[in-house]
């Protein structure tokens, strides 16, 4: 086994490394699971170098770093945001479901985990199954070790008649909104950025409301029904944003917009144009018109064919741009080229953080950082989608290590 740290430029592994010194892993031909001829020897070779070295000291605080990125100044290094409320819960010993049920534990888990790994703190939450529960369906909280987020047990709409009768829910009481508002109020009390956890994804929420299979069929055979679901879904999001604006003021609130089911793994660009774009236009224009402070726009999964249409949406101004988060399916070079006035976020493949060796994690993170650093309006390192709750903590630390080794702008 030749897996080990070595000082850059040195061929031999060094047992003494200064904090901030650049470290490299030289990869051997064997993998971590290979049967060892001499396990003791391997442990001796591996363990000592892995315990030394450290992170290069930061110059800015997390708040200063994020502020610099937001206003368009160059921070000391690339910020590193954990895209992982569920990971944070599990990391501190809570069940994953607390991020959807308990505002205090949700925030505590994320703040503690951010502190542990030296990440810029994020404290919000949201969930991809949004829309079913809020419109009267049923969801199930993640309970088994194989679950990471709420799952839909019963959609709100099970027939065309159900949809015709469906009305907008009471925005203050619908589904998970009370919990999401509780999180925002706690953020306010702690002086943290206030994020609205409503999923700003009309198409995915509509599909969750009526069942994804049914929604896909309606898009082809009964588009008027798909559009009715989309209308309700969009109006609900706007009502919910207004609720947040009334409570905290637009200038203090950030929102999340997403295009999940619009990914080309599901939908054609033509369908994206018909069923996603018009409703996204409404949301993006609403952000502009209300003066909402900021937006994180998660462009989930394979979206390469949709990017030209996404580029036409309102994405903030160069002074106050949206943060655009990409999955690993979109190359960061292309994202940067197409969205030079946006803050680019992403895009390390979550599955690799969960299943990959630390060496692999280090390498894919290095590549993301080195590409991302060329973004003219700034870059934030993140996973390309939710950090899996079961990801080994060491792999997350390895991402942070790569930020330290490659993320400084000097």
């Amino acid at each position: 086994m030749t897996d080990q740290f070595s000082a850059r430029g040195s061929s031999a592994p060094s047992p003494v490394l200064l904090a901030g010194q650049v470290l490299e892993w030289s990869l051997g031909s064997e993998n971590l699971n290979s049967p060892a001829g001499s396990a003791d020897q391997e442990v001796r070779r591996m363990s000592l170098p892995r315990c030394v070295g450290g992170l290069r000291p930061d110059i800015m605080t997390s708040a200063e770093r994020m502020e610099a990125v937001m206003v368009g100044l160059r921070p000391d290094r690339v910020p590193f945001n954990l895209f992982g409320a569920g990971f944070s819960a599990r990391n501190v010993g809570y069940p994953v479901e607390v991020v959807y049920t308990d505002p205090q534990k949700c925030l505590r888990a994320q703040l503690w985990t951010g502190e542990q790994f030296g990440c810029e703190p994020t404290t919000g939450t949201g969930y991809a199954s949004y829309g079913a529960y809020e419109f009267g369906g049923e969801i199930r909280m993640p309970r088994s070790r194989w679950e990471s987020a709420p799952s839909i047990v019963r959609p709100a709409v099970e027939s065309e008649e159900d949809l015709e009768k469906l009305d907008l829910p009471d925005v203050k009481d619908a589904g998970m909104i009370p919990t999401l508002m509780g999180i925002s109020k706690l953020q306010e009390r702690l002086g943290l950025p206030i994020s609205c956890g409503i999923s700003g994804d009309p198409a995915t929420n509509a599909a969750n409301m009526v069942d994804v299979n049914r929604f896909c069929r309606w898009m082809v055979k009964k588009p008027e029904l798909a559009h009715r679901a989309l209308r309700l879904s969009t109006d609900h999001i706007i009502q919910a944003w207004d609720y947040w604006i009334e409570t905290f003021g637009a200038e203090r609130v950030s929102v999340g917009v997403y295009v999940t089911i619009g990914a080309n793994q599901i939908m054609s660009p033509k369908q994206f144009e018909e069923f996603v774009i018009p409703y996204q236009v409404e949301l993006h224009d609403r952000i502009r018109d209300t003066g909402i402070k900021g937006a994180m726009f998660h462009i989930c999964g394979e979206q390469n064919l949709n990017l030209p249409m996404i580029r036409e949406l309102y994405l903030g101004t160069r002074q106050t741009p949206f943060m655009l988060s990409f999955g690993h399916e979109v190359d960061l070079d292309r994202a940067i080229e197409m969205f030079p006035d946006s803050i680019i976020c992403g895009n390390v493949e979550p599955q690799i953080i969960q299943n990959g060796t630390p060496q692999r994690v280090y390498e894919v993170t290095r590549i993301a950082i080195e590409k991302g650093k060329s973004a003219p309006r700034g870059f934030i390192l993140m996973t390309g989608c939710d950090l899996p709750p079961m990801a080994p903590g060491y792999n997350v630390w390895t991402m942070r290590k790569a930020v330290s080794d490659f993320g400084f702008y000097d």
Partner: protein, 223 residues
Amino acid sequence: MATEARKKEILKGLYDGVVEFDEDKVVELSNAVLAEDVDAYEAIMDGLAAGMEHVGDLYANQEYFVPEVLMCSDALYAGLDILRPHLSGKEADVRGQVVIGTVEGDVHDIGKNLVKMMFDVAGFEVHDLGRDVKLEKFVEEQMKTDSEIVALSALMTTSMLAMPKVIEMIKARNPDAMIMVGGAPISQEVADNYGADGYAQNAANAVQEAIQMVSRLREMGKA
């Protein structure tokens, strides 16, 4: 008895009905197959299945996406439901048996349903356990049906972790069972690491993998 020209017309209509996801047309022509004494097996293979094969190409070429394929699948099953009961014993012989399901903790089943459909088209007997399937259920169903293949699907990075566990459980009871895995977060590398015998990158590829697996088993005299 239909003339050769009429038979061709019916088969072409079934093919087009599937490709154009025209369920009514497929039902009408499937009934015509029976009424006009056209061979049901031929109608399935040269009409419906051939149409679905073309749909697979359209999907691979990004001309069709999931919504269209789901509609094609509805048309296909509308025809299969009418014609299958009329297959003769020999024609109804299956190519192999597959147990399929989305693993515990995961309720996403679009991908699994597309793979199931391709197995159906290819002449496999499919035992569909649905979604969010308890791991023990895969083991029980494989043993009960003596299926050559178990196909596991997962969309979530969390639920994919159930795959190595269920593979271990199945192999412990029946080392000869072949396991195929697929789903958005799965890659060939992941499949290999999990100890799976095959990886379904997409629905069409799943069937090719399965056919190879069954062939391997038969060469070894275990199927």
